[in-house]
């Protein structure tokens, strides 16, 4: 459950991130295009006036030309300014306030000014380019920004709704499959529990001393197998349901619990000819008994699984903690960090090892227990669980 909702959230965030990114790109591009369009519109709206201004100036410089510049007074107007340039872009005369002229453009805006470049059909006074300059009141910019803001926020609102809807749509199949799988596993595991319990209780009632040793050995193997299934079943239920499982906090006598769990794993330990040492001191923990049993089971199961044949398991309790030490393969220093990483990564499902330590980690977290690992490869691993007294 935890894993599914986590990956669900992650993919939701990924989706939202991509969605917001794309939305913003669209918004910026659209705004830019709109702005450009408004600018073009504004410029072309000035065109007729600019044309008539140009005509007036050309008329005037034609007169000047025809008088062979006896009449050399350049026309001045209050509502626009103008300049004349020759074919090699050399200034003949200019009243402009702007400094630079872009001769490749016919109609453009530069700074606060709008420029219009007209080429007269004859080069009166050598004029190839007549430039008309008018001041832009820039009212259109304010209007454009107002519209961009208005329609932009409307668009964002729309996209937000759409995104919400899409996210739901996107997550629904995932949610469905998760709940389906969950329900399926819940049902099956429940169905699984009954037969396994039946096998175990029946084996326990058999008096093994009365049996032929060969048969007793076979029965022992059946018991181990059944217990392994039972452990896996309990781990699975815990992983699937631990969020829904309410914790019944009680004071647990850890000596009693550990003894019970050791008894449970006795057959398995015997099969590997392990010696078990149990050093007791008063040790109590306030927590959920079922869950602490899961924690202990997983630690013991690892201690048996990774021990060498004929090795030893040392369980010791003390005030505010206990440890389980084995004489197994050990965990190298570099890997010790990694194992903690794996706890956090939650998704690790490398066989029983990953899931087991994952459960230990989850339970320890719930009851604020500290996990300490001491190990020397090929010699021993000691996992200590500590809590506030």
């Amino acid at each position: 459950m935890a894993t599914s909702s986590l990956s669900e959230k992650k993919s939701l965030y990924n989706f939202l991130g991509l969605y917001i990114f794309l939305t913003l790109i669209i918004l910026v591009l659209a705004s830019l295009m709109y702005y450009r369009f408004q600018k073009e519109l504004m410029l072309s709206s000035h065109l007729p006036t600019l044309q008539s201004h140009a005509k007036e100036v050309i008329h005037r410089i034609r007169q000047m030309h025809e008088s062979l510049l006896e009449d050399n007074y350049y026309p001045r107007y209050s509502n626009f300014r103008s300049a004349i340039y020759d074919a090699d872009y050399v200034k003949i005369f200019s009243l402009l306030r702007g400094k630079r002229i872009d001769f490749h453009n016919v109609l453009y805006k530069q700074g606060r000014f709008i420029y219009f470049i007209k080429e007269p059909e004859r080069y009166y006074l050598g004029t190839k380019y007549l430039i008309i300059e008018i001041l832009d009141d820039e009212k259109w910019i304010a209007a454009t920004f107002k519209n961009i803001l208005l329609f932009g926020s409307l668009f964002l609102l729309f996209m937000a709704f759409l995104g919400y809807y899409l996210a739901k749509l996107f997550l629904r199949p995932m949610k469905n499959s998760f709940t389906l799988l969950n329900d399926f596993i819940k049902d099956t595991t429940h169905e699984l529990n009954t037969p396994v319990s039946t096998i175990l209780t029946n084996i326990e009632t058999i008096d093994k001393s009365a049996l032929d040793p060969k048969l007793a050995k076979k029965l022992g193997r059946i018991e181990i197998a059944a217990r392994t299934i039972s452990t896996i079943y309990k781990d699975l239920t815990y992983l699937l349901l631990h969020e829904q499982l309410p914790s019944h906090i009680e004071t647990i006598d850890m000596n009693e619990l550990l003894a019970q769990r050791l008894e449970y794993f006795n057959t398995l330990a015997k099969s590997k000819r392990l010696r078990i040492r149990f050093s007791k001191a008063p040790c109590f923990l306030k927590a959920d008994r079922q869950k602490i049993a899961r924690l202990v089971d997983n630690l013991l199961s690892n201690a048996i699984k990774y021990n060498k044949i004929g090795g030893e398991i040392w369980v010791k309790t003390f005030q505010g903690g206990f440890f389980i030490e084995d004489t197994g393969i050990g965990i190298p220093k570099s890997k010790q960090e990694e194992i903690f990483e794996r706890y956090k990564r939650l998704q690790s499902n490398e066989g029983g090892f990953g899931i087991g330590l994952n459960i230990v980690y989850l339970i320890a977290q719930e009851f604020a227990l500290r996990i300490k690992i001491d190990s020397k490869p090929k010699f021993y691993t000691r996992i200590t669980i500590l809590w506030e007294k």
């Binding site: 030309h65 510049l69 050399n72 007074y73 350049y74 050399v90 006074l125 050598g126 190839k128």
Partner: protein, 103 residues
């Protein structure tokens, strides 16, 4: 020695002002107004570089189709040394140019 220097000076002066000494007198005589011609070239060629280029081309290789001033029915075939022509056109341009004269 002094005579040679004077001659050189005169030569240089006349060379520098080949426009006033050569072009103007004949044009005044023939009533071919150089100012009008100048403005016609300006009207069709616009810039200093282009006006000079067009005049030079015409004066060295007269072509009726490219003439911008026809008064007597036929174009006048100039015989001008190309080396002094550049100098003459420079003075010509400076004399009648529009840039700097508009108020």
């Amino acid at each position: 020695m002094g005579k040679i220097a004077l001659f050189c000076l005169l030569f240089l002066l006349s060379y520098a002002n080949v426009f006033d000494s050569k072009c103007l007198p004949c044009h005044q005589r023939k009533k071919a107004n150089l100012k009008v011609i100048f403005f016609n070239y300006l009207l069709y060629h616009s810039s200093e570089r282009r006006v000079k280029k067009a005049m030079k081309a015409f004066l060295l290789h007269p072509d009726p189709k490219k003439s911008l001033f026809v008064k007597n029915g036929s174009i006048y075939r100039h015989h001008i040394d190309p080396q002094i022509l550049d100098q003459a056109l420079k003075t010509y341009w400076e004399r009648y140019k529009v840039i700097g004269k508009i108020k």
